[in-house]
Symmetry: C4
Subunit: 204 residues, 4 copies
């Protein structure tokens, strides 16, 4: 699974979704006790190497020996994994950065009517809409993880598909790495569509 996450990094870096040392990726490698394999903090995602990953427990505590640290955002990965995600991918694209900053005032971004929505887990018709929640950016990841946990526990209206941190980027997840990667591609495509549609709306 290290290899699959390295390939995600290489592709996302090439597309400009994981530049600098931004982004972090994880996958559940054991359910009981919950154990995640996760990118270590501060590495170039375009050229990840196997020794740049760490193992963490359900509280994002480091399990693997050595000098590496998990990302500061590891708690967001572990809370999503505790509520069922098999893999969590966090990316920083230009479109996600700009849209999340603008639509923070609305609390989310509504995307409706596109065939590509069917690529999101649980959606089977284009006559659907996705509501992608947007949270203010913060350096207090523990506090945000608590908010996300409450949203995941809300059975009547659970957090779905993914979420944006304003001026920061996307968190999404799936049952495995391939499913999470699909979510990233679908959501980033839809962010581009929303952006292009708005740019053209003046000219149309």
């Amino acid at each position: 699974m290290t290899q699959e996450l390295m390939e995600c990094g290489s592709d996302f870096h090439r597309r400009g979704w994981s530049l600098g040392t931004s982004s972090n990726y994880s996958v559940v490698i054991e359910r009981d006790p919950l154990t995640l394999l996760m990118t270590g903090s501060g590495f170039d995602k375009g050229r990840l190497r196997p020794e740049q990953f760490v193992m963490v427990d359900e509280q994002a505590r480091l399990l693997s020996p050595g000098p590496l640290k998990p990302s500061a955002e590891a708690l967001l990965h572990t809370v999503l994994a505790r509520y069922g995600a098999g893999a969590v991918l966090h990316t920083h694209s230009v479109a996600a950065t700009v849209l999340s900053e603008h639509f923070l005032k609305d609390g989310g971004l509504r995307i409706a009517g596109y065939e590509m929505l069917k690529g999101l887990a649980g959606i089977t018709t284009h006559e659907a809409e996705a509501w992608i929640e947007i949270y203010p950016n913060t350096q207090d990841i523990a506090a945000l993880a608590t908010v996300i946990e409450a949203r995941l526990q809300n059975a009547a209206n659970p957090l779905r598909h993914g979420f944006l941190m304003a001026g920061h980027g996307l968190y999404t997840w799936g049952c495995d790495i391939a499913a999470a990667r699909r979510q990233v591609e679908v959501l980033e495509f839809l962010f581009e569509v929303v952006t292009q549609k708005r740019l053209l709306s003046g000219a149309f």
Copy 2:
């Protein structure tokens, strides 16, 4: 021909025209009885493998054994193949999604005066225009296939070049995979030109 379709997928995925598990591709491998090799449903088009293809007959019924299903849109491929297409490529680009949503009210998109039009089958001068029809998106593919069949039967004014499904993407075809791929590249280029021209029309 599996290899050629895998290369289409890899290139189109890289360009952002087949993200998520969107898109499907087919090629006629026998004319009598009509038999198509087609991408199975739900695979990543950027990394197709030979075992992810299926064979279908002229009614899009599965011919190959095993657990794979043809795409829900297989009927569109087979109707195009019955009227002469040797290969059919369906892609989802940002430009095609946005333009098809906007111009649905006009029933199509007129593209005129560009040299690149000469890359479309049957056009030999830039003093030509292409009319790319746009249909409402639907999950009832059988009904759409009937509409497309009627358009293909219209000898006085047949459907040409390709068509768009609104908010969804492009269908185009050619005598073989290379010809169909050329149609995709030419049409996607022209969609970009139309988009850029409109974006600039305010500033010009």
Copy 3:
């Protein structure tokens, strides 16, 4: 030199400057008598093979045996070669297509003040300007070649850097393939700069 032109094709196709079967490339392989190696008509520039090139004389007549034809635009290559070009590259980008269509009414596109201009042959300071002439698109290549020849003969004000055909694309050249490729990259970069600047001018 076949290999170098194949690499141009692969890179330009990847960038979207030579999609479909658009574009043609040539290099002078002998000066006396003038002999050019040139891409044959109708091939995918992203995957050129050695057997897809032809040899032509100074009047663009085919020298190599076999079924291939030179491009319909071969006369533009030979006239440029007769006046000194060692390699000629013709590309079709979205930016060149849109700008050439819009600025045809002015007869050309003025680009001034950018450091990148120093990448063009003969320019040594950014306090320069390039005037890229734009001609109406035509299928009568012989007539256009005559116009271009007259411009190349104009010692007081010779055609420089390259030229655009409206709604069609760029012709540029250099003393060898590397120099011509540099001209393509510099001019396409500058076309993107002009486009972005105009798009932003409303918002600024």
Copy 4:
């Protein structure tokens, strides 16, 4: 380290940040006496070869024998190295060209509130702002190097992160090649964000 700079060139050329023969890159290979390995003048950055690098001293005088010349801008590299940079990367992107031309009147570009800012050396929270100074473009590099040196000596308000030359491109640096490359990726990402945000501001 030649290999690392060749990889920078290949990646930046692919992204369109080092087209033509633009850009130059350097790395400190000895501190006492100060010695830099630097790209020679006039080469394609997408396909650098080991023999296309030169060695220079702290005054940008050529140390290595042979016909190659250091870039005309070598003095900017050496002044940055004398004040601590371990590697200096200079790139020419469309976004940097357009933004630097527009914001020259303000003397710089303020970028605030984005998570990606944390990728810049010395920034640990998104509640930061980066002020990227912009200088008029010039062919008198010695004079600009004197200005930059004065800014680096200003202990109360030193030049940070990088700087732009108007209509020209970005200079940035780091303790080593990987750190400088990170700075390029982060700053180019942020230039894209600023551009997209402004383009959308009319439509929003």
